[in-house]
Symmetry: C2
C-alpha cells in the first residue's frame, strides 16, 4: 500500500538538517540516547519546537530516555532525501555556477550535478570538474538523456526568467534559484530560492554599528 | 544630526534585492518610471506588499506615475549596503569555502574576502585567488590588521561552534554561517544562517513525485 508523505511546513524542514548535524555528531561520539532538551541546549531551539518538528516525521522520544540516536539519524536522513541521488544540471557556469559545481559537499547531500549549460562559446564543449558543458540549445535532449530532474540556476539576473522557463519546458521538476530574480511559481515545479546576496543584505543591516 | 536607521523586518529585507534586480534591469532598458503593479507582475509579489516594503526605506511612489526608476535603484542600493565594501575572512577553505572565495559575485555585492583560514597544513601559507590562507591561531591578529568585520563560516559542521566562538573573540561583528550547525545568537554579533543544504532538503521534499 502506498502512503502519502505527510505535509511538513517549510520552516520545520529547514530546521531538520540542524537536528541531523547534531545527532550525527552524537552518534560519532558513541552516544545512544538524546533528549529534546539536550538537542535544545546545543542548537538554541526550543525543546517543544524540536519535539513538534520530529513528530511530523512520526519520530517520538521515550519518556525519561529520549530519542534513540541511530534511529533518529536514520529517520532524518530518510526524510530529508540526502541519501538518494538526484541528477541535476547547472545553468550558467560563471563564477558562482562553477563554484557550486566544484563544491563536493552538494553530492554528499544527494545533489549529483551531471552537466553544465552556458552561452559562452569559450566554455561550451569543455569540461569542468569532469562534467561536460553544453549549449542551452541542447537542454531538452540532454535533460532526457541524463535523467536530470533538478536545475540549479546561476545565470546573470537578466537571463533568469528565460532560463527558468527553458528548464520547465525541458521537463525539469525542481529549480534551485541562486539569482536575485524571483521566479514565478508553478504547480509543475518546486522552486527553492537561495538568494545568497539577499542574506548578505540582512547581515549588513543587522551588524552592530 | 545622526538618524537611526529604521528597523526593517527580515522578510522585507530579503525581498528588497528582488526589487533591486527588477529596477536595475528597467534602468538599463531606459525606463524612467515604474509602478508597484508593474513590479508586482514581473516578480509575482503582491503590489501592496511592495509598496509597504519600500515605505520602510521612506521611498514613496507618486500617484498615477509610480516610482522614479533611478531614485528607487539608488535608494535600494544605499539601504542594502551592496555599494559599501565590507572586509571579510573565510573560515575553512575546503570545497565550499574555496568555491565562495572564487565567486566574484560576492565582491559585486560589497563582500570583500581578504583572507582565508584553515587547519590543513597543505593550504596554510599558500594563496587562493590571490588571497593569503592563514592558520586559525593567527586569527585575532589578522582580523585586526585586515580590518575584517565579517567571518564566512564554511568549516566542517563539527568545528562550527568552536570556530564561531573564535571569530567572536577576535572581534568579528557578523557571522555568515554556511554550515548546518545552528550558531547561538548573541547581541554582539549579527548571524545569518545560509544553510544551502537545508534549502536542498526543502526542494527535494516539494518536488512533484
Amino acid at each position: 500500500m502506498e502512503t502519502t508523505a505527510p505535509y511538513v511546513p517549510e520552516p520545520a524542514i529547514r530546521r531538520l538538517p540542524w537536528y541531523l548535524a547534531c545527532v550525527s555528531r552524537l552518534r560519532a561520539e558513541g552516544v545512544e540516547y538524546v533528549s529534546s532538551t539536550a538537542i535544545s541546549h546545543q542548537l538554541n531551539v526550543d525543546s517543544s519546537q524540536i519535539a513538534k518538528d520530529l513528530s511530523y516525521l512520526n519520530i517520538k522520544g521515550k519518556t525519561r530516555i529520549g530519542y534513540e540516536v541511530k534511529e533518529l539519524e536514520r529517520g532524518l536522513l530518510d526524510f530529508l532525501g540526502f541519501h538518494r541521488e538526484h541528477n541535476a544540471v547547472m545553468m550558467g557556469v560563471g563564477s558562482l555556477g562553477a563554484a557550486l559545481m566544484a563544491d563536493s559537499g552538494l553530492s554528499r547531500y544527494g545533489l549529483n550535478i551531471v552537466a553544465g549549460f552556458d552561452v559562452n562559446p569559450d566554455v561550451v564543449g569543455t569540461r569542468l570538474g569532469g562534467k561536460p558543458i553544453y549549449d542551452y540549445s541542447d537542454l531538452e535532449r540532454r535533460v532526457r538523456e541524463l535523467d536530470a530532474e533538478i536545475a540549479v540556476i546561476a545565470v546573470p539576473v537578466e537571463s533568469a526568467a528565460e532560463v527558468a522557463q527553458k528548464c520547465v519546458d525541458a521537463g525539469i521538476k525542481a529549480l534551485w534559484n541562486f539569482t536575485p530574480f524571483h521566479i514565478k511559481t508553478s504547480p509543475a515545479v518546486a522552486i527553492q530560492n537561495t538568494s545568497i546576496y539577499a542574506h548578505l543584505a540582512v547581515m549588513y543591516n543587522r551588524m552592530p554599528k
